[in-house]
Amino acid sequence: MLLDFLTYPFLRYTFLTGILIGMIAPLLGTFIVVRRQSLIADALSHVTLAGISFGLMAEKKYGWVISPIYSGMIFSVIGSIFIEKLRTVYKAYQEISIPIILSAGVGLSVIFISIADGFNTDLFNYLFGSVSAVTVNDFYVIAGITIFVLVIIWLFFKELFTMSFDEEQATIAGLHVKWVNMLFIILTALVIAASIRIVGVLLVSALMTLPVAASMRIAKGFKQMIFLSILFGEIAVIFGIISGYYLDIPPGGTIVMTSIIILLIAIGMKKLRK
């Protein structure tokens, strides 16, 4: 069954890229979920869609070749900075930054798509993911992002944990909460932009939250939760990509449904234990 993935280079790169995002998406998702910011991933994925649409429009309409992964990444990072700024402007209503940025992302996407008179299959691939969309170049970019994310999380793990558990305490202790938050949301933006090739805009937030929701039910401690989230993320991505390929279904759908099954098992296990 795995033979095609070993034989064809484009499938091999998709598979390897899947392994990478199956690790970094739930890793960041763990911090996002415990901070009750799950919808941030949705907002950023829609801003990324605006960036991708911009890249596709620029190529189709004006002949500028901008890789959509780069334009998506740039828009996502800018969107993440705006979210963080809006959170400080609306201190008492921090969640309002999410619908603002999400709607801005969708609005811009509609404008870019209209200017380009539509994109057909390209856009479908970006919305729901694709097993054939990952290029060698994409793989190297995503591998670079993975290394960057892992190093930053390793270096700032204790700050991120302290802030996630108790932001007020972190502020009192003298941590630079604003800057660490900014760094974290930029990482999130990069991971979302990197994941979209395989999982798709509409489902990327699921890969960041569903494995975490499952691990949360059974983990005894934060590090164990991270480990289980990554494990569940990898199972979902590997199974989702392979089944998506053989069933000729976009992998976004199969990855999310695998994650849902894992989540249901985790909920069932917890109930059985009781």
Partner: protein, 249 residues
């Protein structure tokens, strides 16, 4: 004469048009166990937020360990325990060890990792609050009183000289409140920590505190428990801004 741990002079503070603190002057001497009491909205939490540097006073000066709080580099000298047992995210899957270790984050600094010695400190702080057997347990599974002990351990782990506690016994049953005060007393007498405790529970607090301050926008009383015991219903009515009947047990 030793420098007071906290010294406030001529402090005024408004929230928008509402005056919260009016010309506050007071000191917390080294080694004190100070109880801060007063009605809701009387400025207790604001006073704490000013000492912690979370708010900036409009007038006057706040000195902590002889330095302006804004310039105090080693924030680990102050430990803070809030009403967390009531408000924190109980679904957060963190072990007791992980929570207490987070108390060292700021002291260690960026790009530094816990050493063997630091890990030992974490275990010692957990032992100081009598929670060693719960080290690997998920904090969300503990009782309110046990969780509050863990938050004290988190404050203790960086070896602060001053510990500020904002109504830490809210939602904790009487038996555990008593044990909690015994722990605070031990920290004050045995481990020489200066304590500032905001509370509504004046009965138990007066058994252990060395100093009591009554605050309702202005400072109405500052004295020791014996002097506090002499306050009359008329005094309390003035402090609380409405008629108060004293009930003794």
């Amino acid at each position: 004469m030793t420098t007071p741990v906290v010294s406030m002079s001529n402090i005024n503070f408004h929230y928008e048009s509402r005056k919260v603190l009016d010309d506050i002057n007071f000191e917390i001497p080294q080694g004190a166990f100070m109880g801060l009491v007063g009605p809701n909205g009387g400025g207790k939490t604001t006073l704490i937020r000013l000492i912690l540097g979370l708010e900036k006073q409009e007038t006057g000066e706040i000195m902590v360990f002889g330095q302006s709080i804004q310039k105090l580099k080693n924030r680990a000298r102050i430990g803070f325990v809030s009403q967390k047992a009531n408000t924190f995210n109980k679904g957060f899957p963190a072990t007791v060890y992980e929570v207490v270790a987070s108390g060292l984050t700021a002291q260690l600094g960026y790009l530094k990792f816990l050493t063997k010695k630091d890990k030992q400190k974490v275990h010692e702080a957990i032992a100081q609050v009598g929670m060693t057997e719960y080290t690997k347990q998920n904090i969300g599974n503990l009782s309110g009183g046990q969780q509050q002990r863990i938050f004290i351990a988190r404050a203790l782990v960086s070896d602060p000289e001053l510990i500020i506690l904002d109504e830490p016994t809210v939602g904790i049953d009487y038996e555990n409140v008593k044990k909690f005060y015994e722990l605070l007393y031990k920290l004050n007498t045995e481990f020489k920590k200066t304590l500032l405790l905001v509370t509504h529970d004046t009965g138990t607090m007066t058994e252990y505190a060395t100093d009591i301050v009554c605050l309702n926008k202005t400072m109405h009383f500052h004295g020791n428990p014996d002097e506090y015991a002499l306050l009359t219903e008329a005094d309390f009515s003035q402090i609380y801004g409405h008629p108060v009947s004293l009930v003794t047990h």
